[in-house]
């Protein structure tokens, strides 16, 4: 979390749930959960939103996110920037946390996954069905691809954190001279690393390969570039 940033977690009324836990929910689009929230977004989700809006991830990050692309930037009236009177204007590419709600998903650094059922939103008109399963609900929300993308970036994050710990512990100077990073041209300002289009554009220039239209391929290249950087710099 960025320094000075604050969030309040929504209390969970049930937790330590697995995919087979009984759960069912029908949203009636009251839109109450689109107010007064902080919505996490990762590079994959930003790319999906950017594609739908016909803009670059750079533009999407600048226009719609805060915390260097970590959260959606809510309006002054505390509404989601993609909410209009009819509802969500990016519903087909909404972020994972919106798909999961009123659930939350937890993943440990050992790969253990579990879910929580959050306290209902005040004035929510959704209906809890008392049947079905979490896994069924997730599939209905088409959340699987978003969960997989989150896991890819999570694996990257765990590696980054381990690398940072090692950098602190390692007090030896780096050798001078040509650095492997220069060979792939991934020197960039830190604020660009989470911008998929910027990183992939450089990656494609160096490797002399076409900039992909497919977001899954772009994500693969983004992660490849990041892995190269953390392992070779």
């Amino acid at each position: 979390m960025a320094r000075g940033d604050t969030v309040m977690r929504i209390p969970a009324r049930k937790t330590d749930l697995d995919g087979n836990a009984v759960f069912g929910f029908t949203c009636n689009q009251c839109l109450n959960c689109c107010h007064h929230k902080k919505i996490q977004v990762n590079p994959y989700e930003i790319a999906r939103i950017a594609e739908t809006l016909g803009i670059t991830t750079t533009e999407c990050i600048a226009l719609y996110t805060t915390g260097n692309g970590s959260y959606l930037k809510f309006r002054e009236d505390a509404t989601c920037p993609f909410l209009d009177t009819r509802g969500c204007t990016i519903h087909a590419v909404r972020p994972l946390v919106c798909r999961l709600y009123p659930l939350s998903r937890h993943v440990s650094d050992t790969g253990h996954e579990w879910f929580s059922e959050l306290q209902p939103q005040k004035n929510c008109t959704g209906i809890y069905l008392g049947q079905g399963s979490i896994r069924t609900y997730i599939n209905e929300q088409n959340a699987e691809a978003y969960m997989q993308a989150a896991d890819c970036y999570l694996n990257m994050l765990w590696k980054m954190m381990a690398m940072l710990e090692n950098l602190v512990a390692d007090v030896e100077e780096q050798p001078h001279g040509q650095h492997p990073d220069d060979a792939i041209g991934v020197h960039t300002e830190y604020s660009n690393w989470m911008d998929m289009d910027v990183v992939v554009d450089r990656y494609c220039q160096i490797r002399q390969t076409a900039f992909p239209d497919d977001i899954d391929e772009k994500m693969r290249m983004h992660l490849d570039a990041l892995y190269f950087w953390i392992n070779n710099a």
Partner: protein, 83 residues
């Protein structure tokens, strides 16, 4: 600032941003950042004072059970708007 320090600062910023976007508890992402920044500051001070200050040695104690919490959060700053 040497390349290692530059990389660590860049990495620390990436860890913070990516950690936030994936709901990794602030203490987990920030702990690694803060430890390096403390180390980095002491290194730079050591450079300017020619090694008179001892830098903190040792690995960061990693928080057991780092967890990514993928969920909507409440924005406490704007909580009372339009209610």
């Amino acid at each position: 600032m040497n390349k290692r320090a530059k990389k660590a600062i860049t990495l620390a910023a990436a860890v913070t941003s990516l950690g936030t976007s994936l709901g990794v508890a602030p203490v987990d992402a920030q702990a690694a950042v803060d430890m390096f920044l403390q180390q980095g500051k002491k290194d730079s001070v050591r450079e300017s004072t020619q090694g008179k200050i001892e830098s903190t040695q040792g690995k960061i104690e990693s928080t057991q059970g780092k967890i990514s919490n993928q969920e909507k959060h409440i924005d406490p700053v704007n909580l009372n708007k339009n209610r």
